[in-house]
Symmetry: C3
Subunit: 246 residues, 3 copies
Amino acid sequence: MFEIKLDDARYWRDCISAIGALVDEGLFNITKEGISLKAMDPSSISMVSFFMPAKSFSKFTIDKNTSIGVNLENLGKILSRTRDDEALVMKDADSKLSMEFIGAARRRYRLQLIDVKKGAEKEPNVEFDAQVEISGDPLKDILKDASLLSSYISFKTAKDQFATSAHGDSGELEELHGKDGNIVKKVEATKNADAVFNLEFLENMVKSCPVGNSVSIAMKSNEPLKLSYKIGDADISYFLAPYMED
Amino acid sequence: MFEIKLDDARYWRDCISAIGALVDEGLFNITKEGISLKAMDPSSISMVSFFMPAKSFSKFTIDKNTSIGVNLENLGKILSRTRDDEALVMKDADSKLSMEFIGAARRRYRLQLIDVKKGAEKEPNVEFDAQVEISGDPLKDILKDASLLSSYISFKTAKDQFATSAHGDSGELEELHGKDGNIVKKVEATKNADAVFNLEFLENMVKSCPVGNSVSIAMKSNEPLKLSYKIGDADISYFLAPYMED
Amino acid sequence: MFEIKLDDARYWRDCISAIGALVDEGLFNITKEGISLKAMDPSSISMVSFFMPAKSFSKFTIDKNTSIGVNLENLGKILSRTRDDEALVMKDADSKLSMEFIGAARRRYRLQLIDVKKGAEKEPNVEFDAQVEISGDPLKDILKDASLLSSYISFKTAKDQFATSAHGDSGELEELHGKDGNIVKKVEATKNADAVFNLEFLENMVKSCPVGNSVSIAMKSNEPLKLSYKIGDADISYFLAPYMED
């Protein structure tokens, strides 16, 4: 049994949106530390890792560690109806997740829980060579620039610079971001890194990054990338395998 | 022969939009009292009843009672082009409805009139047990909440409360509105009422309710509902048969 | 070899959008006077003529007259990514058009040039009888009004008036614009002109007219129309053959 309260339901809506951008269903683990979830996308080329600490909640009561399997699309639909001034109380009740929105009205949803196979959701074990910190909004623009030409984008670090490129039948694109600008905040590399990634996955990953927040990208040449940001106190991290041209 | 003038054409546009949300064609009756229309939707599970008094018009000249049959989709298209500062003069002319918009420019449309079978458009004769008065905008939200789970919504009155619910494969929803809140203004019931309705029809019915206006809902268990609101001086009422689960 | 710089890239974006509304590909002629293009649309019932003087650019260096063939859809996509505060430097480089956007970041696109057949893009030789000057925004509204009824619109000048009309199955429309209003600025006719045009072409032609700008329409009965406006210092003119009812 658990009873969890958030003073601003939109916060949970945004977290679920960030997870649901990549995976259809997942297993939330609720422990006294907080709520966590790790899941691979159906194609197994990416995974998401989420953690929201107990302190983010105004009430966090659990009697024992619990796991609940959730269809993220259905959960996302319910949360999309969040009004601006609502608190959210979540409880488990008869194989359902009860979600009560408390604002001008009281709405209570009961979401059917589902069986989610517990897989070996292990984060890839990479010793990253390079770390880039970049503003989320310009990063969305950079991905959109590239998507006009290709389905893939190349990320490259070189000294104090972060470079992206894309090429397709209609032309080529190169972008160069020095850390002196106000787009890239930090480039730290023990060794330069260079890899190509699927743009659609990257776009889904950064979509829920709150306006004004920074994104951290950890890279190693031709290895999976780790892309992370904060939604309030919650940590959201994605891993994405590189695209290897034949 | 008639000649009718409205100082603000948008007013007529909004009324036609409210009627056209439910029916494709209709017969406007023009008498010295005003303009009225009653029509059933093509599936015969709902009807609309409209009345706009002569005093709403800055000019209202008729020589005898007249009925004109109109394709509401075509009329709605023409009215969708209304600019913000236009008056509207309507006249009959050679089996056409002449509509002159007078603003920065003068635009004159002539709409082909059509034959509309005069049916037995009688309003359902129900002695309602319960009356609910609710703000139009939150009502639109309540319908949208339910539409994420189902194609139907249950309306229920109980004492001083108005309750809605919906259930589907992905979960269940219950909403409770006391009359102390600022959503439900009034709940008056000689007997509690409870019925299930088609959401798409309800959504079309409330769509044209002006922002800030209230909606009146009259109910009796498992009987048609009557839903009414004002557009300026005009009265618009809808009747909707309940959905009976087999 | 050429090197051309615009301080505000959005200016070039809007010009390309005006050309691309009608034609898929075109040949830009770059001479010391400036940049020009003439092209017919694929159906050959309209043409576009564009000229942007060298003085519009903050840098305009060419060593000899050059023609470059461009796919306007691909060019338009690249320009759609223009940010608000960017300069644009264009150069030729190895059968490609290099476009460097300089703002918070540096983005460099290379667009593949294409072979464009040089046709006999001669502007129609018409001695126009009537000239109308009309605000671009109300003209867009006038075209939209007509498009609800028909795929064609009739333009007519008569004395000091510009009249438009359209008719279809659902009704008829007439609009009358005197030059005393604030929509039509000027009507000058040595002889009245009257012709019918395809609305979709007209809508594409005026789409890129900057907000607040005027459009000039030159007409002669049942002859091609010439429709022109300015985008900054650039001149954009369209010719459109009249529609002849059988």
